[in-house]
Amino acid sequence: MAIDSIKDKAAIVGIGVVDFSTDIGRTEWYTACQAIKLAAEEAGVNIDDIDGMVKSVDDGPDPTYTGKGLGIDNLLYHSENHWGTSAMMNAVHAVAGGLCNYCVYYQTAHRASGPEKCISDFLVAREFRDDSLDMVRYDYFSPFGLIGEPGYVAMMYRRYMHETGIKPEQLGWVPIVASENAARNTNAIFFDKSITIDDYMQSKLIADPIRELDCAPKVDGSIAIVITTPERAKALKQEPVIINSVASGYALEGQNYTSYTRDVITDLPEMENMAKELYRVGGMGPKDIKVAMLDDTFAPYVPMQLEALGFCGKGEAPAFIEGGDKIRVGGQLPVNPDGGEIGQGRFITTRIVEAVRQIRGTSTNQVANTDTVLVASGAGGPADGMICRKE
């Protein structure tokens, strides 16, 4: 009875975006409810008909609490995934497999103003973790001051510079193009004009060789996405965005941002495995992709993803991004026309929202005739991605 493939079995029918801010002045619970309401209204779905909810573990209140605000009874599917946007995959399985009708994927994170914005001095002990390697790893890093993601990524990027010869003058084009794109996007609050290569070179080396401009800034936001089957989508308000394929990938000896024990630490094998699966399921290849929404939480991952996802050959990425012409709107492969996370702040689901807008043709930085968009997340750890297309 099983289906052979999840190809084209689900569609995105609504998006709800609460305006980004560096101090949103509300609780995450509040903005989670707000975003889901916006998404349901946009889609033309009655909130009572929502019967599935998925989210990332770290971002926002869980489905039960969110459902309590929304007054949603009888949720038939709920799931919390850890890595990137891999919750999307569960949403697709749930609607394609007949486990629920309308699944909402929501992400709520107030990273700029602080998610723990507790007014009282609530007494709470730190959670005790058992012997997982994850923690053992930090035991091995923290005493030496290797603390925080920019540092973890910098260790890998130093080696990447050494092995590929990529120069800061080349990598700088990732944040430059991000700033250009963000300047056109009103919800991208970090840039009102494009930066120059000089600005980039003068950006502070916070964890040398990682610069401040290589990192996505913290932001407060809340996004919800409604997913259902293409058949049900027909009766709804928006033009559906078909999910052609969705996949996740893992590779041996993986650790989040710190897979230092692999033979080679400067590629993204998780992303390569994910891409193989993504293209296989969807029956597409890198050449079919019109716009790429790549994980730019840290800039060095952009050239690495271009190679891992097959958009250029091994070792060609530094030249591919240099000057920015190939990755701009109008170029060979426009990357993150919304400004990405560098332009909008650290918020993974922005990529899905922009993918939807590009396909609907409603982006603030529209790429002409976009019919297929690839979304990738989880660079530097377990990866996931999807390809969506016009109906």
Partner: protein, 142 residues
Amino acid sequence: MVKLIEGIPIMRPYIDLDNQGYWDAVKNHKLVLQYCTKCNRFIHPPRPMCPTCRSQDTMEWKESSGKGILYSYVMFTSPKMAYPAYELPYAVVLVELEEGVRIVTNTHEIEPDEVQIGLPVEVMFEDLPDGQTVYRFKKREA
């Protein structure tokens, strides 16, 4: 009936923007409940959206009569499962207020064998030495 053991702090409520009004009132010895003016309905615990009409701006804080009946209770008798700041035994009770919502609380001057489902109770407040205010429920005439 709840007696505190000196030196062990009791846990404080987690207060955020969604429930601040509730706890601010407690500080002033008032029990307030979230109320949706559109649906004319009390809501508890406090939340950022009315689960019936789904508006986020129709809610206000309305003072409760503070009267209710004991709906269920838990008697803590074993140190293994109890919070160490309270002398054993202590009761945690679920009170159904006249407004139709229930709240979790402790009892005040009710003997353990008097703690029974259906007991009429009303709210009282106590300021603790550590500066926080808690609400508890005592017996009342039915």
